[in-house]
């Protein structure tokens, strides 16, 4: 099953021309700078904006195909939307807000009690929206959208209006939802940390066009994309907890087809977990060094070397059996190690530089 989106629309000063195809269920993060056209995609997918041409299909249901004369209006589209500004109905209590969409669709798989539990809303049901904090409001808005039994959930920068404390409070709920609900989700953000935590698939958008799309592990591990030019560029690996070594206070993860030792994690063996490995923390070597504190010496092959425009550093993409690592090195290091495409190389990663970022 998949979500496929193709939109073409001309604004007076801006043109949107995008197409991508991502697996469903799963969270697809639309990532790009402000003004790149991400929110327009949400407006079109929800039916609130009718573009010049588009085709949107979710799990074989065609929501819109302007060429074929199909355009489901928002009220019959069953695409739930979580707006940046919550948009809770101020004249209704939280419970009535939650039930608004639910009362207008046939009963579905998502139950009122489940949503209240998942989002921690039980203490808020009798409150009025204006008495809620920003984070609470967004949780209610998410619950309201889910209870309308959407075929597709659209989230338009849902955390952008929140400060970092509120954001930290709500992110665990989002990760929890991901595992509890099998839903296709399009999640718009310009914050990399949200993308790294939540995305199964990543669609990079810039100036109304798709730069790249694919699984989050594949996109984050590419040296040739704009993401890799950021200071905080990092590879992402989807891992499983293999074992805990309590005496040494270490946890062994399996991910990308390799083993990684990280400081002890509070997760049971077998649990899913994603890790972020910053490119500037990865050292390259041609042979195993001795007498150092390092736990992770990961063999791989050089797949791509991308220089930055002022050639002060180079981004090296190292292919693992199932994934990739990024390493930011100097051009001098590339020459000294004689790095070339296809060459075997060892990636040295301190266990403390590996950030475990949820499931």
């Amino acid at each position: 099953m998949s979500v496929s989106v193709a939109i073409r629309h001309r604004f007076p000063s801006f043109q949107l021309d995008i197409a991508f195809d991502v697996p469903s269920p799963g969270v697809t993060v639309l990532f790009g700078p402000s003004g790149s056209g991400k929110s327009t995609i949400v407006s079109v997918a929800s039916g609130l904006l009718r573009p010049d041409s588009c085709r949107i299909a979710v799990d074989n249901a065609v929501l819109a195909d302007i060429g074929a004369g199909i355009w489901l209006p928002p009220e019959r589209r069953r695409a739930g939307v979580v707006f940046q500004d919550s948009r809770l109905f101020p004249h209704m209590r939280v419970a009535a807000n939650l039930r608004y969409g639910m009362r207008r669709v046939p009963p579905g798989a998502i139950g009122f009690g489940d949503v209240v539990d998942l989002l921690g809303l039980s203490g808020l049901l009798d409150r009025r929206p204006y008495t809620l904090s920003g984070g609470e409001r967004q949780r209610v808005a998410i619950g309201r959208a889910l209870l309308a039994q959407p075929r597709l959930l659209l989230m338009d920068e849902p955390l952008a209006a929140l400060d970092s404390a509120r954001k930290a409070e709500i992110l665990p709920y989002l990760t929890g939802l991901k595992t509890a609900l099998r839903l296709p989700v399009l999640y718009v953000t310009h914050a990399l940390d949200e993308a790294a935590r939540l995305a199964d698939s990543l669609v990079l958008i810039d100036e109304g066009r798709v730069t790249a799309f694919g699984s989050v592990q594949d996109i984050a591990g590419r040296a040739d994309l704009p993401l890799a030019r950021r200071d905080d560029a990092a590879a992402l690996l989807l891992c499983e907890v293999a074992e805990h070594d309590h005496p040494r206070a270490l946890t062994r993860l399996m991910g990308g087809g390799t083993a990684l030792w990280v400081p002890l994690l509070n997760l049971p063996p077998g649990a899913q977990c994603r890790v972020r490995i910053p490119a500037r923390e990865v050292i390259l070597a041609s042979r195993t060094p001795e007498g150092i504190s390092l736990h992770n010496v990961v063999p791989g092959t050089v797949r791509r070397i991308a220089g930055d425009p002022d050639s002060r550093s180079a981004m090296v993409e190292i292919a693992l059996p199932d994934g990739a690592l990024l390493s930011r090195v100097t051009p001098d290091a590339v020459v000294r190690l004689n790095l070339s495409l296809g060459a075997p190389v060892l990636a040295l990663i301190k266990s403390t530089s590996i950030e475990a970022i949820g499931t």
């Binding site: 928002p74 948009r87 004249h91 309308a148």
Partner: protein, 230 residues
Amino acid sequence: MTTLTPEEWETVWLTLAVAARAIGFGLPVAILTAWILARCRFPGRGLLNAVVHLPMVLPPVVTGWLLLIVFGIRGPIGVLLHDWFGIRLVFTTAGASLACAVMTFPIMVRAVRLSLDAIDGGLEQAARTLGAGWLDRLFTVTLPLASPGILAAAIVGYATCLGEFGAVITFAANIPGQTQTLPLAIYSALQVPGGEAKAAGLSMISLTLALTGLLLSEWFGKRLNTALGR
């Protein structure tokens, strides 16, 4: 304050009833008109807007005269009402209500429209994505959110009706017990020698009613706004 004679009481009740009927029939039409003006784009919208506001700028006597032309026994609508339903509006209590409704119509449309314009369009969009069609949205989101404006329209409209003079006397005449509302009675009292005391009594009532209306409007408006979280 002097005690009222039964006739004066009758005048007060008649005034209240005429105003109530004017608002009862006028307000729903005013809400609909305000909604059309606020939400719909169509050719002739500007003209509709102008016609709605006409009674506010026309001399009330002219409005009354125009009503006579249109709703009089030989007027285009008056003749239909008379022939088909046996309804006569000229020189009747119903006619007084009609004149009041027409005169307060622009005030009510304006109040409702201001509150409609103040509604965040995003809320209606949210309702749409949650499966609500336009009529559903109108009754569950738009009108409840506009309720402070609608209430203000009703109360201020009602208070204005109580004082309507020119259009009423022109269209419905000054018939005690039928179309003689408070202002008309005050006017008549001042026309007869020695009627000042009566006029003063009725004026006090008029003043009290108007003040009560405005205070109620303020109080209800505050409560509604609190309920809406403003």
